[in-house]
């Protein structure tokens, strides 16, 4: 369904397919221009409904999804996709990410977040981070998490020699998500998400 990062051949790279879902036309335009290149194909959708239509017609490697949309909002799109078994990595990109929407996304296997406003570099960065992760522990952990392997992800994160706040925050959240499968307690998760909301969004390496 999505590209294996290790099998990074040119042909595969040339067939990167990204879906940008946002109701803001200029943003769609900007995202398209920012991501489009010889190896990346970008398709756009203005509403949740269009996004679901697009994903039904074709497969995508990454979906950049806005949260607030007129018909079906970002969370609705996520749930619909997961319901039909589409596990495409999704980047939830919003200006108004709060703890409850973040938690809903996390519970549906979405672990990548972008906090608007963003610059082109961040956008490209997050797509690369997902599709061609480096061999470092954190990107590997996040990749495992995207596949639902929280234990693997926690294992990677715990290997970190000097864990930063982001690493520990994610480790805690993955632990809670893993436990969440067995128990139905979202309380601790929400509390934790609430505490570390600022740390969860993707950050360009070197940026503050």
């Amino acid at each position: 369904m999505f590209q294996s990062p290790d099998s990074g051949s040119l042909i595969h790279l040339a067939t990167r397919r990204v879906l940008v879902v946002d109701d803001e036309p200029t943003l769609r335009l900007g995202f398209s221009y920012a991501l489009s290149n010889k190896t990346t194909y970008v398709e756009t959708a203005a509403t949740g409904r269009q996004a679901l239509d697009a994903t039904a017609k074709a497969d995508f490697d990454v979906i950049i999804l806005d949260l607030r949309m007129p018909d079906i909002d970002g969370l609705g799109v996520i749930k619909s996709l997961r319901n039909v078994g589409i596990q495409t990595p999704i980047v939830l990109c919003s200006a108004g990410l709060n703890s409850s929407s973040t938690m809903q996304a996390l519970l549906n296997g979405v672990v990548d977040f972008l906090h608007k406003p963003i610059c082109p570099a961040e956008l490209r960065g997050v797509v690369d981070f997902i599709l061609t992760p480096s061999n470092q522990l954190f990107p590997k952990a996040m990749r495992a998490a995207r596949e639902g392997a929280y234990d693997v992800a926690i294992g990677f994160l715990n290997q970190a020699a000097s864990p930063d706040t982001q690493t520990t925050a994610w480790a805690d959240i993955f632990t809670l998500l893993r436990n969440e499968k067995h128990k139905g307690e979202t309380f601790l998760l929400e509390q934790h998400v609430n505490q570390h909301l600022n740390l969860l969004a993707y950050r360009e390496p070197g940026g503050v």
Partner: protein
Amino acid sequence: MLRLRLFYGLLTIVVLLWGVGGAALLLMNDSSDQYSARLKEDYQIIDAAQSCRTITATLNSHYLPQLATPVVEKPLDRSLFDKLKVELQGNLNIVTNSTKGDPEWAGVAQRFEQAIDIYCDGYENYFSGNVVKLSDRADLLRYMSTQTQRLTDMSDSIMSLGEKTLFNGAKLLGREAGKNILLITTLVILGTTVAALIYYQLVRHMVDPVARLTHSIEEIRKGNFELVLPTPGRGSEFISVASAFNDMAAELKVHRMQTNENLQRANLVNRAILEAIPSPVYILSDDTKVIQMNPAAENLSEKVGIASRIPLKIQRILDDCRENGSHFLPEDPREALLFRIEEKEYYYLPRIFRFESENHSHASGSGWAILLHNVSRIRWLDDMKTNLIATVSHEIKTPLTGIRMVLHLLMEERTSKLDEMQKTMVSSASEDCERLLGTLNSLLDLSRAESGTTHLTRHHSSLQDRVETAATLYADMARAKNVQIHVSPELPNAPKVYIDSVKMDEVLNNLVSNAIKHSPRGGKVSLAVTRPEADFLRVSVIDEGPGVPEAAQSRIFERFFRASGQDHDGVGLGLFISREIMRAHEGRIGLMERSENQTEFYIDVPIA
């Protein structure tokens, strides 16, 4: 006047006393005289009778023995007889004279005289010398003894009569004494009557007015000013007292009426004011019993379903106030209490204050007043404003992110190069875009702070952890400015605090970023958790910057305030939002007085 009456009354008693005493003395004297006279008189008779018997015995013993012997030729000596006869005659006279016209006595005296005459005749016969014959002499002797016996009997009867008279006299005297006793008794009764009269008069003129006065004072004390003391008769010492008292009562009455009128007016005014106030007002006594409430308060209590009591939420605040002896006068509508009335939400800002009369001894002169200011509309408008700001900011922010994206792409010059002029324009537009985004973010923060601070998600957390998180978060920013962040080691046994960590982080981040912003290059920012008092922990954020200008110090926590001459970004909401968050935590935020070129901001977080 009273003095004169008293004098006359007592004079009468004294005169009576003298009279009774004198009369008693006189009567005693008189009866004793009478008694001795009577005794003397009656005793004379008895004495005379007794003497008669003695004389006859003497005569008989002298002469009669000779009769028993034959005639002795010798002249008979009659000298003794003559002498004793005179005595006998004298005694007879005494008896006769003592008859006092009493017929019984007269008869007795007459018979006594006859007996003496007959007795004397016998002796005359004897002395005549005719009795020579022995038989004659015997006859005479017999005769004499008979007469003597008769005389003796007579004497006895006179004596007994005399005794009887004496007894009668005593009885008479007794009767006389009885009369005297009656007289004295009458006088004593008279005296007693006069004394009673005087007592009555005294009571009437002296005790009664005093008693009436006392009673009247008592009545006035009870508030009955209608009572008037009757004016006593002319010349009474009580006239002045009574009139003074009546004047006083009248003045008191007037005064009371005025006071009553004033009170009534004040009461009416108060009630009118209370009724005119649309906010519920409760007036409570010291023990928080409701004394008075205005129609709005009655209405509220009724609708909340607690007739004539104050709502429980307010009772709690009131109890706190009573405990601390403080007023509760919040200004911020966000401190209002929510009441659900008929499925609608109403916000009332309670204002509780204690009132006390200047006269502290007066127990009823103090209590509590509670005014519930209905701030529902203000809250609603405030919420509307917050929502409006949030909505508008979002609506602006969304296209702005697109614009920003496009501007960034242009500046990347990936597809085509820009000339200098285009570059300048695009970067200027980008800067404006960034500024606008900053403002929008602040506005969103503000609305979030205003709508969100009332809904804290609190947990028990370590304040030291929060401080260290903030320090870590800003380590890069500090490094960029060559500022060193120093966190003091954790306080031993520091208790956990009950906080919303995210909100608390916001406050700490704000303070730390401010401190770094205002630090000189190469300066130091110190963070420390201390416990200056038992019930809260304090986080101090100290920098070595130029400090807050004095004129600005009182306003730095106001929204949109920025100290003049500040060249840093921001719209002046950071400290305001921090204050709101601290307020929601029932804590404090403040600026210490500047010392040793250090600026210290602190937050006090209550210990759970």
